[in-house]
Amino acid sequence: MHELSVCEGMVQLLEEQAEVQGFERVKALWVEIGRFSCIEVEALRFSFESVARDSIAEGALLHIEQVPGQAECSECKASFEVEERYAQCPECGSFRLHILCGDELRIKELEVI
């Protein structure tokens, strides 16, 4: 739902990085989107294209790596993949899980000129 403001944040970060790292244009970027990050990948692609227009990232290729949810059971310490936040430990049935992966919303790498 807030993919648009997430994309605005991305373009701002890219513009800051352009000054710090001294580049003119972003040709491609690799981002990690976790399962629990509340982001719809298709909506993000759509928003990015329009937000990036007239910026240093206009036309940049957006590579999205989706990160599945990983959790560790706080009771029995088993670790496993989870589809939802309210998953149950497959070993002991506890709902007390510590989410290890899936909250990511991160730019990993850029290809720049």
């Binding site: 970060l13 309210y86 709902f95």
Partner: protein, 254 residues
């Protein structure tokens, strides 16, 4: 030629399965790769951290109230302001109108309205500017009434001490399972409009069980803002948190 990215390769290559570094044809000689590992919300988080530092130094307890539209947040806020007995300031977030801010203003406490327009949540930058304009009493309590939305406000830290999620019994008891991120991010769940329980099909204990599946440590209070039933528990919770906030700020000041 691929019309998707204009890269000159045949159309058959699959853009949806580019893994890390798999887009070899994009690496022409003039480009370079930079690893940055930056959190996309880092800008918001930096503003949130600045807000949190300010609140902690000043001894201001900031509470971020989140819920669906129509849960009774504004009515609860008005009843709370009337009975709390502590200095209060309010930031009101809505997409449009200042109707809620007007209702709050009538209680006599300082209030700042933020209209987010098309935005579906408040962010830490907006809140920081509102705090400057509001100059809330310190020590005191700052209520931030977020946009009525159980999805997006979960992802945006405003610098608050706690998110408080309000759920009314006229909504489904399964909301914690349907909107897990918000219940995961909140420290307290208020079940509001309990005076309507005899008229609706809402299983309170099941609702609490669902919320604790998502967040085993979430505290729960039940009340009716309209009748005032259960309000004391909420007021007590706020006073306790406010006292802790003041103590922490005094310790930090030495």
């Amino acid at each position: 030629m691929c019309t998707y990215c204009g890269c000159g390769e045949p159309d058959s290559h699959d853009h949806h399965h580019h893994g890390h570094h798999s887009h070899e044809h994009a690496s022409d000689e003039n480009t370079r790769h930079i690893k940055i590992e930056m959190d996309i919300l880092s800008r918001n988080n930096a503003f949130a951290a600045a807000n949190r530092d300010y609140f902690e130094q000043q001894g201001i307890l900031a509470l971020n109230l989140v819920s669906s539209p129509g849960s009774g947040k504004t009515t609860l806020l008005i009843k709370t302001i009337e009975s709390l007995g502590l200095p209060v300031a309010v930031i009101e977030g809505d997409q449009q109108t200042s109707l809620d801010a007007e209702r709050i203003r009538q209680t006599g406490v300082p209030v700042q309205q933020i209209n987010t327009g098309k935005g579906c949540h408040l962010d830490a930058h907006m809140v920081g500017h509102s705090v400057e304009a509001l100059a809330p009493a310190a020590p005191g309590v700052l209520f931030i009434e977020n946009v009525g939305n159980l999805v997006c406000p979960a992802a945006f830290d405003l610098g608050e001490a706690h998110k408080v999620v309000i759920l009314s019994v006229t909504e489904g008891e399964d909301k914690p399972l349907k909107y897990p991120d918000m219940f995961h991010a909140s420290d307290l769940m208020i079940i509001n409009k309990t005076d309507l329980l005899p008229h609706v099909d809402f299983d309170v204990s099941r609702c609490i069980e669902y919320a604790r599946r998502i967040n085993p440590d979430i505290e729960v209070l039940q009340l009716s803002a309209t009748t005032g039933d259960g309000l004391d528990g909420w007021l007590g919770w706020i006073r306790e948190q406010a006292a802790d906030t003041v103590e922490t700020s005094q310790q930090a000041a030495g």
